[in-house]
Amino acid sequence: MKVFLATLRRDLLVAIRTGSETLNPLVFLVLVGVIFALVLGNDHAARELTGIPVVWTTALFANMLALEGLFRREQDEGTLATILVANESALPATVAKLIAHWLLTGLPISVLAPLIGLGFGLSFETLGILSGTLLIGTPILTLVGAIGAALVVGLGRGGVLLTLLVLPLFVPVLLLGIGTCQQFQFNAEYIPPLLGLLAILSGAITAIPISIAPILRFSQDQ
């Protein structure tokens, strides 16, 4: 617990000090969202129809952008090696890193996305459910993405490769997230996809955190 809290605190502190690098994905999210809304102009029907897919997809890409930095800095500074050598601390420390990452990307994305949704003229209820599905969906993106980030850590040209590896795995989250919102938007049955999303989240939470440290350890071997 001590290791977990110390690492969480440390990662948040580093993120605050980097400033713009932490904010970049969020600015990206807002910018892309605004551009989409702008291009669609005043066609209300089109904006209402595309709003949810656009916001969700943009949120996914913003998350993707942040993912690359999940372990890269630690790898360069050598702190990742320190964490991995300290056997027993590797699990709480990596879990803390994942949570810190979500707090810095997934959470603000979930909060900001409805604001962009406003630009698409979505109703308040829909915005609420949009935010809710993002709150469930973004931890999955962080967890699944972490596997990819751990696999490519230290590879140099990791960025594009990471996108290539991880995006296909993000498809179900995207579809279920958009599906839930749209079902809700058009007054249809939205519980089943929501349950699907929750099921994926619980599966990811049970399986992924414990496997990150071993993958990272293997990635040191190069």
Binding site: L155, P168, V171, L175, F218
Partner: protein, 237 residues
């Protein structure tokens, strides 16, 4: 199994699999192209099925095979499992590409559109990217041990994702699809079509097994090029 025994023992198998596969594919294809009457609804375009269905089947089987090999590698560190993954991934990429391509061309005369987003097309498309990821990741990692591990992890994660993708896409597309297009109409496959189709599926499996085996032989040779038995083999004839 030692690499040398594998290398020497597998040559006969490669020849047999190639031979049976090619004969079977010729038989099934010629049968399907010329000796089967046109289908009632689709006319002659259904003949693409004799390529499309085996290719689509096989791509999934190859991916499952890679994922199983990934488990085997992670649990037992079997080097042959890694050789299999390395040899099978490009083959899988090409069969998946063929399944997609034939699907696209089949779609035009049948449904009037090149591409329809449904559970099957999307999961095959995702499969294509998963195979691509396998190859890209392996090439990006210089140390073979690490590459094998990374590729295994990726294969397993991808394999877990395939049913989830299928479920989510199926659910998602029923939501968006106008009900007029029914893709699942298999046009009541009668025995006339079934026999050449089964011949082609079986021969595809056999032929591709031979191709993967031949690829594994090449990789084994490349990885052990400094050993004495490889030197002896290259010097022998």
């Amino acid at each position: 199994m030692s690499p040398e025994i594998f290398f020497r023992g597998s040559l006969m198998w490669v020849y047999c699999l190639y031979l049976i596969g090619i004969l079977g594919l010729s038989l099934g294809t010629i049968w399907g192209l010329f000796f089967v009457p046109p289908e009632k609804f689709q006319g002659d375009s259904f003949r693409i099925m004799f390529i499309h269905v085996p290719a689509a089947h096989l791509s999934q089987i190859i991916y499952i095979g890679i994922a199983v090999a990934g488990v085997v590698y992670i649990v037992w560190r079997t080097k042959m499992a890694d050789v299999f993954m390395a040899a099978a991934a490009p083959v899988g990429l090409i069969t998946t590409g063929l399944a997609l391509l034939s699907g696209i061309v089949w779609g035009k005369p049948t449904w009037g559109t090149w591409w329809v987003w449904d559970a099957r097309t999307i999961s095959v498309l995702i499969l294509f990217f998963l195979f691509f990821g396998q190859i890209a990741l392996r090439q990006a990692v210089s140390r073979p041990e690490r590459a094998a591990f990374a590729v295994s992890v990726l294969a397993i994660v991808g394999a877990i994702n395939i049913p989830i993708i299928k479920y989510s896409v199926e659910w998602f597309t029923t939501l968006h699809q106008p009900a007029s297009i029914t893709l699942t109409r298999e046009s009541a496959i009668s025995m006339v079509f079934l026999i050449p189709l089964l011949i082609n599926i079986a021969s595809f499996y056999i032929y591709i097994a031979g191709v993967v085996l031949a690829g594994m032989r090449t990789l084994v040779l490349r990885r052990h090029k400094h050993t004495s038995w490889v030197q002896a083999w290259t010097g022998s004839s």
